[in-house]
């Protein structure tokens, strides 16, 4: 590609009308609005690099993951995975059979993950909302508090979770030092926070700690769009603070809320980092979420077909839930003004 070619192109462009940049076309087309849409390589050429990268990085692996769900992929054929035998729906049958140990684990895990998502998102939203409302009034030190609230969100997820893992340690963790050694709770017995039933609660606490600043940030931005006059008018009419919150604040931030709750739910449902850092490769039974279960099936036992099948089921379930939610809850483009 020579420099002169570019130059001559520019020269040609300069001499043509803006509507028809293509030299060599019949001149009669010029100045006849509306112009017929013509097939041109140009727009495709422009998005081609992005499209190629998107397919390579995003869509390709996703389709590959779906394909894996239908083949029997184990260590025997891992190096030559293109030739892994096709087994149809067998992986799904194994994963979904409620009679089998694997199927039972899958179903109870999905139920547990749902409950986990509701608890984490619910508490994070309440905390975020409370923080946002609290910080929307003007007072001294507001900026400091705002920064302070965002710290968990700014910390790398692993660093924060590792710190929690140390704090929850039964023998010398900070949580037991405070609760047992200082306040003498639990009859001076040091409870295990990362084993058994408590591990579920511990995981929820860490996740809320990490997630609520995001809710806080989004809701605070949404609240800034609510004009002050509305509150003043309501106050003059004698509305209590609670009434103001219920009838002004909530409806006004509803669009932001819709998106926020969906995003937080999807993140939480797919949560992997927190259990992995807290518990290692295999979570306690009482605290196994879907993503770690898929990891255990894929990497703990080299059964990638089964892990792939579970991933596909998860993808379908989340996809249906998201579509339903977007149609039902999120504001339509027309009345969003």
């Amino acid at each position: 590609m020579s420099h002169s070619a570019l130059d001559s192109g520019t020269a040609a462009e300069g001499s043509k009308s803006a509507i028809d940049p293509e030299p060599g076309q019949p001149q009669g087309v010029t100045g006849q609005p509306p112009r017929k849409p013509r097939r041109s390589f140009l727009p495709y050429g422009l998005i081609l690099p992005a499209a190629i990268l998107e397919i390579l990085i995003h869509i390709g692996p996703m389709l590959l993951g779906i394909w894996i769900a239908f083949i029997s992929l184990t260590q025997l054929n891992l190096t030559n995975w293109l030739n892994a035998p096709f087994v149809g729906l067998q992986n799904f049958v194994n994963g979904l059979n409620p009679e089998s140990t694997i199927g039972q684990a899958f179903f109870s895990t999905v139920g547990r993950t749902l409950g986990y998502t509701i608890l984490v998102v619910g508490f994070s939203w309440i905390l975020g909302m409370a923080g946002a409302v609290f910080l929307s009034s003007n007072f001294k030190g507001r900026a400091i508090l705002r920064t302070f609230f965002l710290v968990p969100y700014a910390l790398p997820a692993y660093v924060g979770t590792i710190a929690w893992a140390f704090m929850f340690n039964q023998r010398d963790g900070a949580v037991n030092q405070i609760l047992v050694d200082t306040f003498h709770l639990f009859g001076d017995e040091r409870p295990f926070w990362l084993l058994g039933q408590n591990s579920f609660g511990a995981m929820i606490v860490v996740n809320i700690w990490q997630l609520w600043p995001f809710a806080f940030l989004m809701l605070m931005a949404a609240l800034q769009n609510v004009p002050n006059e509305v509150y003043e008018a309501a106050a003059i009419d004698g509305a209590t603070l609670w009434q103001q919150f219920r009838t002004i604040t909530l409806p006004m931030v509803r669009p932001a809320n819709g998106v926020l709750l969906m995003v937080m739910s999807l993140w939480t449902f797919n949560q992997f980092n927190i259990p992995f850092v807290l518990f290692g490769a295999s979570s306690p039974k009482e605290a196994t979420l879907v993503s770690p279960l898929i990891y255990q099936n894929s990497f703990g036992s080299w059964n990638f077909g089964l892990g792939g099948a579970m991933s596909v089921l998860l993808l379908i379930a989340l996809f249906i839930a998201s579509v339903f939610y977007i149609r039902m809850v999120l504001p339509k483009g027309a009345d969003n003004d």
Partner: protein
């Protein structure tokens, strides 16, 4: 080209293609002829310590052959997944260490160079090696794909100071003696009504260490993890009995701290022994930790047995533990990779490396060195040569370790937070068994 925008878009497309191509080209350029990549497992006190102890050997190798070694020490928690990724992508190191219990699983992937021809010649033939260690190289009847590098075996290590205080003169031999001694060694030293010195300590959350105990304790009780036809029998009577003995140390004998249920790293349990928080433990090579901490009050004895003088499978005190070395089949530098395999298994380097890591030489020519004549090494050698069986040499070994080890980890967690009945143990092992059977 007549249109500047068209030109621009075409240029962008070409540029992005070129970028993609050069990215692909990058990986093949690493394989310059005088450098090979070696993934070493963590045999020292830390990743840095391992690297520092390996460096003199690798320097000697470079001096001798002119081949530079790009060393990466990988922690045990990451090594398996790193190998898995390398196997899948076909893009890995030239030479690597593997846990010898993974040898058959990894052999099945076909990603490693079979030990025959040039490679077998380079390591000097199989007769140079200890028989038990060599047997872990691959499945029976197949050409192995790994050669032994470091030998290890379980023994019981104890704190001699605590033994003296409790008036115990001789290390226990049978399991019953072991439990009785452990009870004597469990006591409340600060008068708060709760024990703070324990008879026994283990890493209750370590999946692999737990699975070793399931294997050893099961054999001692006359069981096995698989029957003759290769079907899993994790929940058979003797297996349940064996696992129960181990869990009971915390659940009913109360000689193991409930806190141990959270320990996932073997070094934390060694700390307990050094600090006097616990008196006995089963371990493969704690000496490097002992030395690093200047700890001298330790003794070593064979792993306790269910019945005295048991032989054969019932006399098992350890699995054939150790680290093997494999050459990656896709290596673009195979000749030099094979040279390194031969060098690291040579008599002189076996002496140097096993001395540094307090492990056992896997070649008979090195065992006679003065460094390996101590009581500790002799005990380990005896366990490895006469009382060790290889973990099941099956393709799904990794899965077996994960399932049995995790079941025991969960049982310890249950014991720490409540009670564990024999039915609990049986049902946990049955679940693991079902999953194993479903995967086969």
């Amino acid at each position: 080209m007549k249109n500047p925008l068209k030109v621009l878009s075409a240029l962008t497309a070409i540029a992005s293609l070129a970028l993609g191509l050069s990215a692909c080209g990058g990986s093949s350029q690493q394989a310059t002829s005088d450098t090979i990549t070696y993934w070493a497992s963590d045999q020292g006190n830390s990743l840095d310590d391992t690297a520092a102890k390996l460096k003199p050997s690798l320097d000697r190798f470079t001096e001798k052959t002119g081949v530079k070694v790009n060393l990466e020490v990988i922690s045990w928690t990451d090594l398996y997944n790193r190998i898995l990724t390398a196997v899948t992508s076909g893009d890995g190191p030239d030479v690597l260490n593997i846990g010898n219990t993974w040898a058959v699983t990894l052999q099945e992937t076909g990603a490693f160079e079979p030990v025959e021809g040039k490679l077998l010649e380079a390591v000097g033939g199989k007769d140079r090696f200890l028989k038990t260690s060599w047997s872990t190289g691959g499945a029976e009847g197949k050409t192995p794909t790994s050669v032994p590098l470091y030998g290890l075996a379980y023994n019981m290590y104890y704190n001699t100071k605590l033994f003296k205080e409790a008036g115990i003169e001789k290390a226990p031999v049978t399991w019953d003696e072991f439990v009785a001694d452990a009870k004597k060694l469990t006591k409340d030293t600060n008068g708060d009504g709760k024990p703070d010195q324990w008879g026994f300590t283990a890493a209750g959350a370590s999946v692999s260490a737990n699975s070793h105990q399931a294997f050893i304790r099961g054999l001692q009780n006359g069981g096995s993890l698989f029957d003759k036809d290769g079907k899993p029998t994790f929940d058979s009577g003797p297996q349940v009995e064996g696992v129960k003995q181990f869990i009971d140390l915390m659940a009913t004998d109360k000689v193991m701290s409930p806190s141990d249920a959270e320990i996932s790293q073997g070094s934390q349990k060694v700390d307990n022994l050094i600090n006097g928080k616990a008196a006995m433990m089963f371990d493969q090579s704690p000496l490097k930790n002992f030395d690093a901490r200047g700890f001298k009050d330790w003794g070593v004895a064979p792993m306790p047995m269910v019945s005295i003088g048991a032989t054969g499978a019932a006399g098992t005190q350890s699995h054939v533990a150790g680290i093997n070395l494999s050459v990656f089949k896709n290596s673009k530098n195979k000749d030099n990779a094979i040279k390194l395999a031969g060098f690291l298994t040579s008599d002189a380097e076996q002496v140097a490396l096993n001395k540094a890591y307090s492990s056992l030489p896997v070649v008979t020519g090195a065992s006679s060195d003065a460094a390996f004549q101590t009581a500790e090494v002799k005990a380990k050698n005896d366990a490895l040569a006469n009382h060790a069986m290889p973990m099941p040499l099956i393709a799904k070994e990794g899965q077996m370790e994960t399932l049995t080890g995790t079941a025991i980890k969960n049982l310890f967690a249950k014991a720490a937070t409540g009670t564990v009945s024999e039915a609990d143990i049986k049902s946990a092992l049955k679940d693991a068994n079902n999953q194993m059977a479903a995967a086969q």
